[in-house]
Symmetry: C2
Subunit: 497 residues, 2 copies
C-alpha cells in the first residue's frame, strides 16, 4: 500500500468537506509508513465504535475519500474491504459501502478490586473467603511474618540463571513444543533421586507426576476422588485453611480430626468414617507437631484395614533442625499413601513446581486430570529445577537455608520470651514457622488486625481451626531478618500489653 | 555424631557375629562423614524393608552393635531412636528394641507405558483416546508435519535469557513468594497492550487473567459453566479433537455445528439450542477458513439475542500472510465473548502461557477457578514474556515468523502440487498448517499410519470431524524446513500412489 508520491507533509482534512472525511478527524501524516489501509480501517472502526459513524451510514465514496486524504483509491478500497470482512460494513454495489454493525466500546477500566486495598480490619473481621490470602498478601505491611515462605531474599538467582543458560544451550527444538503431561523425563528422574536421598522413598521416574505445586495436587486428587464417588476427605484440626478451601472448592466435605502432641488422632479418624485424609506428618501445619512413631503405625493400619487413602503433604519436611527428617509415610505403604512435595519451601513458591507420587491405582487418572487441566507444566522451569537437583545446587541451598532459618527461629523464640512472656511456643523443631498460643480468651483475629494496623502481618491461629481452641498466632520466621522478627514480635507484644 | 577416634579404616563385619550385625552387611567406612546415625538408621530400614529384619525381631543390643561397628554407643542409640520415631520399631525397656512394622518395598519400576512406544498402526487404528496426542508425540518419525507448533528451532533463546537476567536482576524478594492468581501485573498490562495493538481489543489489565495456555482456558471455562448448570458447549465440525476432549473431560456435551467456506454456520448453531459455542474465527481449525463478515454479525446477533456465550480461541490469529488479521470478535461484543489467546504459536507451546479476557460477569468465577487449580502461573516466565512484549522483541519475532512460515507454506503448496496433484488445499492464507482433502473414499487414518510407517508424521482430518466427510490430512508446515516439507509430502504421495 504505497502512499501517493506527491502527498504533502500535512494531510489534515479541512473541516468543510461534509460529504467526505472530516468526521474522521484524519491526519494521514499520523499513519505508519507502509500500512495506510490498515491505519484507515482502524480509524474507521474507531469512528463506528464511538458513534461518529452510525449503523446505516454510508461511507464516503472511495474516490472522494482518496482525494481528500491524498492517497491512492486502492488504499481506501482495501480499508473498506477490511470493514466488510470483519463484519462492520457491507458493500451494496451502487449503494456504496454501508455501516451495518458497531463494536461495543469497552467499559471504562474497572476500579481496583476492593480486595486489593483492604483495611486491616476488612482482612480479619469477616469469615475468611476464597480470596482471603490474596487480600492478606495485598495488605501493606512493614514486616511480614506470614507463614509458608522460605528465605526469599536468598533465592539463588545466579545459579538459576546459569542453569537456565545450560538448559537453553542444549534443549533441542522439539523440546519447545507440547510435552509429556507427566512432566519432563529429566525432572521426574531428578525428583525420584531427590526423594530417595532425602525422603526415604524408592520410586521410579514413571511414577512421578510433575504438577504446579501442592495446591494443584489437592485439586487434581479431589477431582479424581470426586469422580469415584468420594465426597469426604478428612483434614487435621487445626489444619491449613488454604488446603481446606481448595478441597471444598472441588466438592469435598472436610470433616476435622483433632491433632494432639503426637499428631493426628487416628482413632477419631477411624470414627469419622472418611475414606481419605490429608495429613502433614513431617511437621504438622500449623502446630508443628511431628507425627509420632505409634501414630504412624496406627495410620498405616487404618489405611490398610479400611482401604483408606492417606494424602501426605510433605510441605517442609526437609527443614528439620535437630536431626534428619523422618522418612516419608509413602515409604511405608505405597498402595495407600499419595505423597505430595514441591520446591515452594526449598526454592520459592512462585516457581509453582511440585510432584505427586500416587498409589499406582490413582496414577493414570491423575495424569489424565493433569493433561486436561493444563497439558502439563512448562518445560523450561522444570529443566532448570532438574539441573539444580542433579548438580547438588539444591542440596547446597537447603543446607544454607537450614542454617539461616534456624538462626531466625532462634531470634523469634528469644523475641517471644522477651515480648510475649505469656505465650506458649509450639512446633519449633522444624519448618518455616512456629505457633504461639495464649492462655486467655480473646479473638486472635482482633490481635492480627491490630498488629497489621501497626504494620506487622501475622495469621490468626483460629483461621486454621475448625473446633474452637485457645487464641494464637502462626508466625513465619524464614523470610524475615532477625531485626525484623524482633521488631515484629515487639509490636505484637505492645498490641497485647 | 562423631566417629570414635580409634576406628580403623575397614569396618566390615565378620560374618560369624550371629547375635550382632552381620545380617546388616555393614561397612561403616561407607558412611558419610558426620552422619553415622543417619546412615545406620537407613541401613536398618533397608534391612527391615527387604526382610533381613522381620517384624518381631529384636535389634542387636546397642552395646554389641556399637562394638562391632566400632562406633560410639550413642550413634546406635540415636539410630534406634529414629526407627522408633518413624514407626518401624518400639523400645521395650529390658526387652530391647523390637521391629514392629515394615515398609512396603517399592514395586520394580514399571515397564515403559505402551503409549510410549506405539507402533504406527496403534496410534491411528483405534478410536483416539485421552492420551492420543501423547502417543503421537512419542511415536518416532523422521519428519514431523503435525499441526500446531510454530518454528521451534528459531525460539529466541538469547533474547529469552537476556530478559530473564533483567527480570532476576530487578525482582524484589516478595516477588518469589505466592502471587496474584490472576497473573503478575506486568504481564496483564503487557497483554492488554498487545491485544490493543494486535487484536483490536480495548481492555484493562484488571480484566486479563493469565492462564497456562488455551487448554487451561477451556478447562476453567467448562468448570465455571458446569457450576452454573451448563452441560452443552457447541463446537465447530470439523474442529480440534483436543479441544473437544478437554471439554468432554470437564463434563460438557459438544454438539457439532458445521463449518463451510464462510466459517461456522450460525443458523445450525441457533437450531442446536446450545447456550455456548467454541469458535476459531481468525483461522478455523482445521479448515483454515476465516469467519466471514456476515457470519460475524450473525454470530454476534445470536449471542445478543439468545444470551449465548462465544468462546473465541484466537490461537494463531497473528499469523496472517496476505493482510493484517481481522480484529478479534471480542472487540464487537465484550459482554458475550470470552477471548482466549496464548504465546504457544508466537513463542513456544512449552511456555504454557496464555490469557483469558472474559465477559465481566464470568471474570470473578474464572479467577476463583484458577486460584483453586494452581494458585496462578509461575511468576518468572510471566515476567520474561512481559519483558519480551514490552521491548518489542515479540513483535520482531512475529515478523520473523510470518516471513519464515510463509516461505514454508509456499514450499508445502509447491510440494503438494507436485506430489499430490489430486488433493485440494484449504486454509493456506494464514496460520501454521493447511488442510488437504481427497476426492476419494478411503480412511485417512490408514494414510496417516502408512506415512508414519515411512517416517512422516501427519494428522488425519477425520480425527477432527464429527460428521463424516472427505478423507484428508492436516499438515503443519511451520516447524519443518522446506527440504523436510518437500520430502514429507513426497512420501505421502508415494504412499497414496
Amino acid at each position: 500500500m504505497p502512499r501517493s508520491k506527491d502527498a504533502p507533509a500535512d494531510r489534515s482534512i479541512p473541516s468543510s468537506a461534509a460529504s467526505g472525511s472530516d468526521f474522521l478527524q484524519l491526519r494521514a501524516a499520523d499513519a505508519p509508513a507502509g500500512g495506510l489501509s490498515d491505519w484507515l480501517a482502524q480509524r474507521l472502526r474507531l469512528a463506528v465504535s464511538d458513534g461518529r459513524l452510525a449503523v446505516g451510514d454510508r461511507l464516503p465514496a472511495t474516490r472522494t475519500l482518496a482525494e481528500e486524504l491524498r492517497v491512492s483509491r486502492g488504499v481506501v478500497t482495501e480499508a473498506y474491504q477490511r470493514l466488510i470482512e470483519d463484519g462492520h460494513a457491507v458493500g451494496r454495489g451502487r449503494g456504496g459501502t454501508v455501516v451495518v454493525a458497531a463494536p461495543v466500546p469497552a467499559a471504562a477500566p474497572a476500579p481496583e478490586r476492593p480486595a486489593e486495598r483492604p483495611s486491616p480490619q476488612a482482612v480479619f473481621t469477616a469469615e475468611p473467603g476464597a480470596d482471603v490470602f490474596d487480600a492478606v498478601r495485598a495488605a501493606p505491611a512493614r514486616i511480614d511474618l506470614s507463614p509458608g515462605t522460605p528465605d526469599l531474599a536468598s533465592f539463588p538467582r545466579t545459579a538459576w540463571l546459569r542453569a537456565e543458560r545450560r538448559v537453553l544451550g542444549t534443549l533441542a527444538a522439539p523440546g519447545f513444543g507440547y510435552g509429556d503431561p507427566r512432566g519432563t523425563p529429566q525432572l521426574r528422574l531428578a525428583v525420584a533421586k531427590w526423594l530417595a536421598r532425602n525422603r526415604g522413598i524408592t520410586v521410579s521416574p514413571d511414577e512421578v507426576l510433575i504438577v504446579s505445586g501442592t495446591a494443584q495436587t489437592l485439586a487434581l486428587l479431589a477431582q479424581v476422588l470426586h469422580g469415584r464417588g468420594v465426597r469426604e476427605l478428612a483434614v487435621e484440626d487445626p489444619g491449613a485453611l488454604g488446603a481446606r478451601q481448595t478441597l471444598q472448592y472441588w466438592g469435598m466435605r472436610t470433616p476435622p480430626v483433632p491433632v494432639d502432641a503426637d499428631g493426628i488422632r487416628v482413632r477419631e479418624l477411624r470414627a469419622s468414617g472418611a475414606p481419605a485424609v490429608l495429613v502433614t506428618p513431617a511437621h504438622q501445619f500449623p502446630t508443628g507437631v511431628v507425627l509420632g512413631g505409634g501414630r504412624r503405625r496406627e495410620l498405616m493400619r487404618w489405611a490398610a484395614e479400611e482401604g483408606g487413602l492417606v494424602i501426605e503433604d510433605d510441605y517442609d519436611a526437609e527443614h528439620r533442625y535437630d536431626r534428619p527428617p523422618v522418612p516419608a509415610l509413602r515409604s511405608m505403604l505405597p498402595e495407600h499413601v499419595c505423597h505430595a512435595g514441591s520446591v515452594s519451601k526449598l526454592l520459592a513458591p512462585t516457581l509453582r513446581t511440585g510432584w505427586i507420587v500416587a498409589p499406582p491405582e490413582l496414577h493414570g487418572a491423575l495424569v489424565d486430570a493433569k493433561r486436561f487441566t493444563d497439558l502439563g507444566n512448562a518445560a523450561l522451569p522444570q529443566l532448570v529445577v532438574a539441573d539444580l537437583m542433579e548438580t547438588g545446587e539444591l542440596e547446597r541451598r537447603l543446607r544454607h537455608l537450614r542454617k539461616r532459618h534456624r538462626a531466625r527461629r532462634d531470634a523469634m523464640i528469644r523475641a517471644i520470651a522477651t515480648h510475649l512472656p505469656g505465650a506458649a511456643v509450639q512446633g519449633a523443631a522444624a519448618g518455616l514457622h512456629l505457633t504461639i498460643t495464649f492462655d486467655a480468651d480473646f479473638p486472635d483475629t482482633a490481635l492480627a488486625a491490630a498488629a497489621l494496623a501497626r504494620g506487622v502481618k501475622v495469621q490468626p491461629l483460629s483461621w486454621h481451626r475448625l473446633d474452637p481452641g485457645r487464641p494464637g498466632l502462626v508466625l513465619g520466621y524464614a523470610a524475615s531478618t532477625a531485626t525484623e522478627i524482633a521488631e515484629g514480635v515487639a509490636v505484637i507484644g505492645s498490641v497485647l500489653g
